[in-house]
């Protein structure tokens, strides 16, 4: 005879799960009792939100499905923002939650919450298991849904009596998915693929716009080969960073609100935008009517609902980015290899004229810190960011070399994501140097995870870009709200002392000359290390496209007039 909890553990092992991030509680006691001597590792976090972010970080770093576990009621509710984060960024996570026993369901029992109802809009799918015999099937379906097609989070709600009931093994339904309504498309329609090549052949000024779908599909190599064969410049969304080496001559870096000027100019001027695994998010497109205004648009996406959602495209191809790019590479004819010399020169000139700049003179400049970290790790390691200015500086200035190296909350922009995600990333890749780039605001959103870091000796290098502000909001207040810094100033916090109290070594850096020695010390230290960089307080992230403006109209630093870019007053609304 087997309990539901035992069946659950067996089903998880069947899926290859060897690590779970979780936090115990009353309704999941049967699961924890099984975990006590199971050969699945359980990482005890300090807050359920950290469990789901860690599972998400694990998934992004490894490409495997991440698993988290919480109790019913408050435990389950604490997962919600993390589940929504994974949903927005298409990250495969399976969240297991306890639930009150079935007979008590709907009675407002102690620690009851309708978590399937609550998470319906922020999961790819969710289940309330009402029969112990169905556990293997539900778990198989949950992993299948999470980790195929467009990835996403799946929640499985497990009532306590379902976990406790004992059943005879031969009654249990097999762990085989039975999903009539779920059939992801992987192969692009051959006619559409051929048409895409025709459009590329006709184009004089093409740009590839690559997104997180490249990372998810494992299509980085195919992307780089395609871009190189065709000599097409590539711009990458924040979610796609690492899809192509940052220093690749064809790489224009990030586009959109805090993209490079040259990427935004290239998109504005191109005659063909070849979008692969990106979703025309408002932070990328700015004013959508003026996004790639002269271009025909090809849109490859595994999710048919993304096509035509934000703008009308000329040629949609539904399918997996890697499968389609490889198909296109195979179909390439010698006449497809057109060298568009004048376009490449034009783009090259923009690149040369408008490099990303790091602040100079006086104070400590965060861009410079990111560049030092990048140099010191030779563009290696796993860089996990929080959300806000720290995130944009890291995205702009780190020299990424490979996919799955950059982990950041894109769609939802969840402050407090980075620290627990960095812990999850390290468990996925324990041989990598994991660096957390945080702001003082976001670090304090899940600062309690110092406890987890210490308990498991997770060697995350925590770099706090401390400006004693909620910096990105302050930046908007400076630029668009007449410097009325309403509730964005944070008091002094001695982060090194906090770290020390947890048993984590740290150091304060106040001047440029101390940056390199402190970084060296942190990388040479076994185990976790925290650096509190007291950066220039009112440093801004530039360039910047004000919300709702066209992406060619960037503020900050110098502005080109000849592509129609209008200099926008920094004080303008």
């Amino acid at each position: 005879m087997k309990t539901g909890a035992r069946i659950l553990i067996d089903s998880l092992k069947e899926q290859g799960v060897d690590i779970i991030f979780g936090y115990p509680g009353g309704s999941v006691l049967p699961i924890y009792d099984e975990l006590y001597d199971a050969d699945i590792r359980h990482i005890l976090v300090r807050h359920e939100q950290a469990a789901v972010h860690a599972a998400d970080g694990y998934a992004r770093a490894s490409g495997r499905v991440g698993v988290c576990l919480s109790t019913s009621g408050p435990g389950a509710c604490n997962l919600v923002s993390g589940i929504a984060t994974a949903n927005m960024d298409s990250v495969p996570v399976v969240a297991l939650t306890g639930q009150v026993p079935l007979p008590m369901l709907g009675n407002d029992a102690f620690q009851e919450s309708d978590i399937t109802g609550i998470t319906m809009p922020v999961t790819k799918h969710n289940f309330l298991v009402d029969d112990s015999l169905r556990i293997p099937q539900v778990i198989a379906e949950a992993f299948y849904i999470a980790g195929t097609g467009r990835f996403g989070p799946v929640l499985v709600d497990l009532p306590k009596d379902v976990l406790m009931r004992t059943v005879s093994p031969d009654e249990i339904l097999p762990g085989v998915p039975d999903l009539k309504g779920y059939r992801p498309t992987y192969h692009g329609h051959p006619r559409q693929v051929k048409k895409a090549l025709e459009l590329l052949r006709e184009s004089r000024k093409p740009v590839i716009y690559a997104g997180g779908g490249i990372i998810a599909a494992g299509a980085s190599e195919a992307l780089c080969r395609f871009a190189e064969e065709m000599e097409i410049p590539v711009t990458i969304t924040m979610m796609g960073l690492g899809a192509m080496r940052s220093d690749h001559p064809l790489n224009l870096g990030m586009l959109g609100m805090h993209g490079t000027r040259y990427a935004n100019y290239a998109v504005t001027e191109c005659d063909l935008l070849f979008s692969i695994g990106a979703r025309f998010d408002d932070r990328v497109t700015g004013k959508i009517d003026e996004f790639a205004p002269n271009a025909k648009i090809i849109h490859i996406d595994i999710d048919p609902a993304e096509i035509g959602k934000n703008l009308t495209v000329d040629l949609p191809i539904v399918g997996d980015a890697k499968v389609i790019l490889e198909d296109m590479l195979e179909r390439l004819e010698p006449e497809d290899r057109i060298i568009r010399k004048s376009w490449l020169e034009e783009v090259g000139k923009w690149k040369e004229e408008h490099p990303l700049t790091a602040g100079n003179g006086g104070g400590l400049h965060p861009q410079q810190i990111i560049r030092e970290i990048s140099d010191m790790l030779d563009g290696g390691g796993i860089i996990v960011s929080e959300v806000g200015q720290n995130q944009m500086w890291a995205a702009q200035h780190y020299g990424f070399k490979r996919p799955r190296q950059w982990i950041s909350s894109g769609g939802l922009g969840t402050m407090g994501y980075g620290f627990p995600a960095s812990i999850g990333a390290w468990f996925a890749c324990p041989d990598e140097t994991v660096v957390l780039i945080a702001g003082d605001g976001s670090f304090q959103m899940n600062i309690q995870e110092l406890g987890t870091v210490v308990q498991y000796n997770v060697p995350v290098k925590m770099m706090i870009l401390n400006n004693m502000y909620l910096g990105m909001v302050r930046q908007w207040q400076e630029l668009f709200y007449e410097r009325r810094y309403s509730y964005t100033e944070l008091p002094f916090v001695d982060f090194v002392a906090i770290a020390k109290a947890y048993g984590v070594p740290g150091r304060v850096v106040e001047s440029e000359k101390d940056v390199v020695p402190a970084l060296k010390e942190s990388f040479e230290t076994d185990g976790p290390f925290l650096i509190d960089f007291r950066i220039e307080r009112e440093e801004n992230v530039f360039p910047m496209v004000p919300a709702g403006a066209a992406i060619k109209d960037m503020i900050g630093e110098h502005v080109r007039q000849d592509v129609g870019g209008e200099p926008v007053e920094q004080e303008a609304d």
Partner: protein
């Protein structure tokens, strides 16, 4: 803004109606009517939704519906040759005498059935398309409609075509 009748074949599991209706409100799509019930395939239900919007809007609705795991098939029935029906029950004032016979005549013309007779009221059952139901509603108005309840619209394609996969 055109009215569309979407026919949605779903797995008959708890919560599936919430997923479908929640999707409409969450994404800012309006439902004008919704009818749901089991259908010819065991374990399946068929939901008929009337929604209005421009073509791009309806296309997005269909795609989002298709993303729901429990949704097997979505068709826009308005694009095909089809028949559609609504059913309404109307409780109308009909005192014995002249008024009652007038109401009964109207019912007769519309091929409505009288399914309840009270001292002073009649309940009519009428089926038809929206226009027909509106018409009888207008005609009965002067007598005093006490209550009116209608189902959402249901629809089928004409001829041998069906929604079911593989057919």
């Amino acid at each position: 803004m055109k009215q569309h009748i979407l026919s949605v074949l779903v797995e008959n599991r708890s919560g599936v109606l919430t997923r479908v209706s929640g999707l409409f409100s969450r994404r800012g799509f309006n439902i004008e009517s919704l009818a749901v019930g089991t259908c010819e395939s065991p374990g399946m239900s068929r939901i008929t939704i009337v929604a209005s919007g421009d073509d791009a809007h309806i296309e997005q609705v269909k795609k989002q519906l298709n993303k729901l795991i429990e949704v097997i098939k979505v068709i826009d029935i308005t694009e095909r040759s089809h028949i559609e029906r609504e059913l309404a029950l109307i409780k109308v004032n009909a005192e014995p005498g002249k008024k009652r016979s007038e109401v009964m005549q109207i019912a007769d013309i519309f091929r409505a059935k009288i399914i309840d007779v009270g001292q002073e009221t009649l309940v009519l059952e009428i089926t038809g398309d929206t226009g027909k139901i509106h018409a009888i509603e207008d005609l009965l108005g002067p007598y005093g409609i006490l209550e009116l309840v209608r189902t959402g619209k249901i629809a089928l394609q004409r001829g041998a075509s069906t929604i079911s996969p593989g057919k």
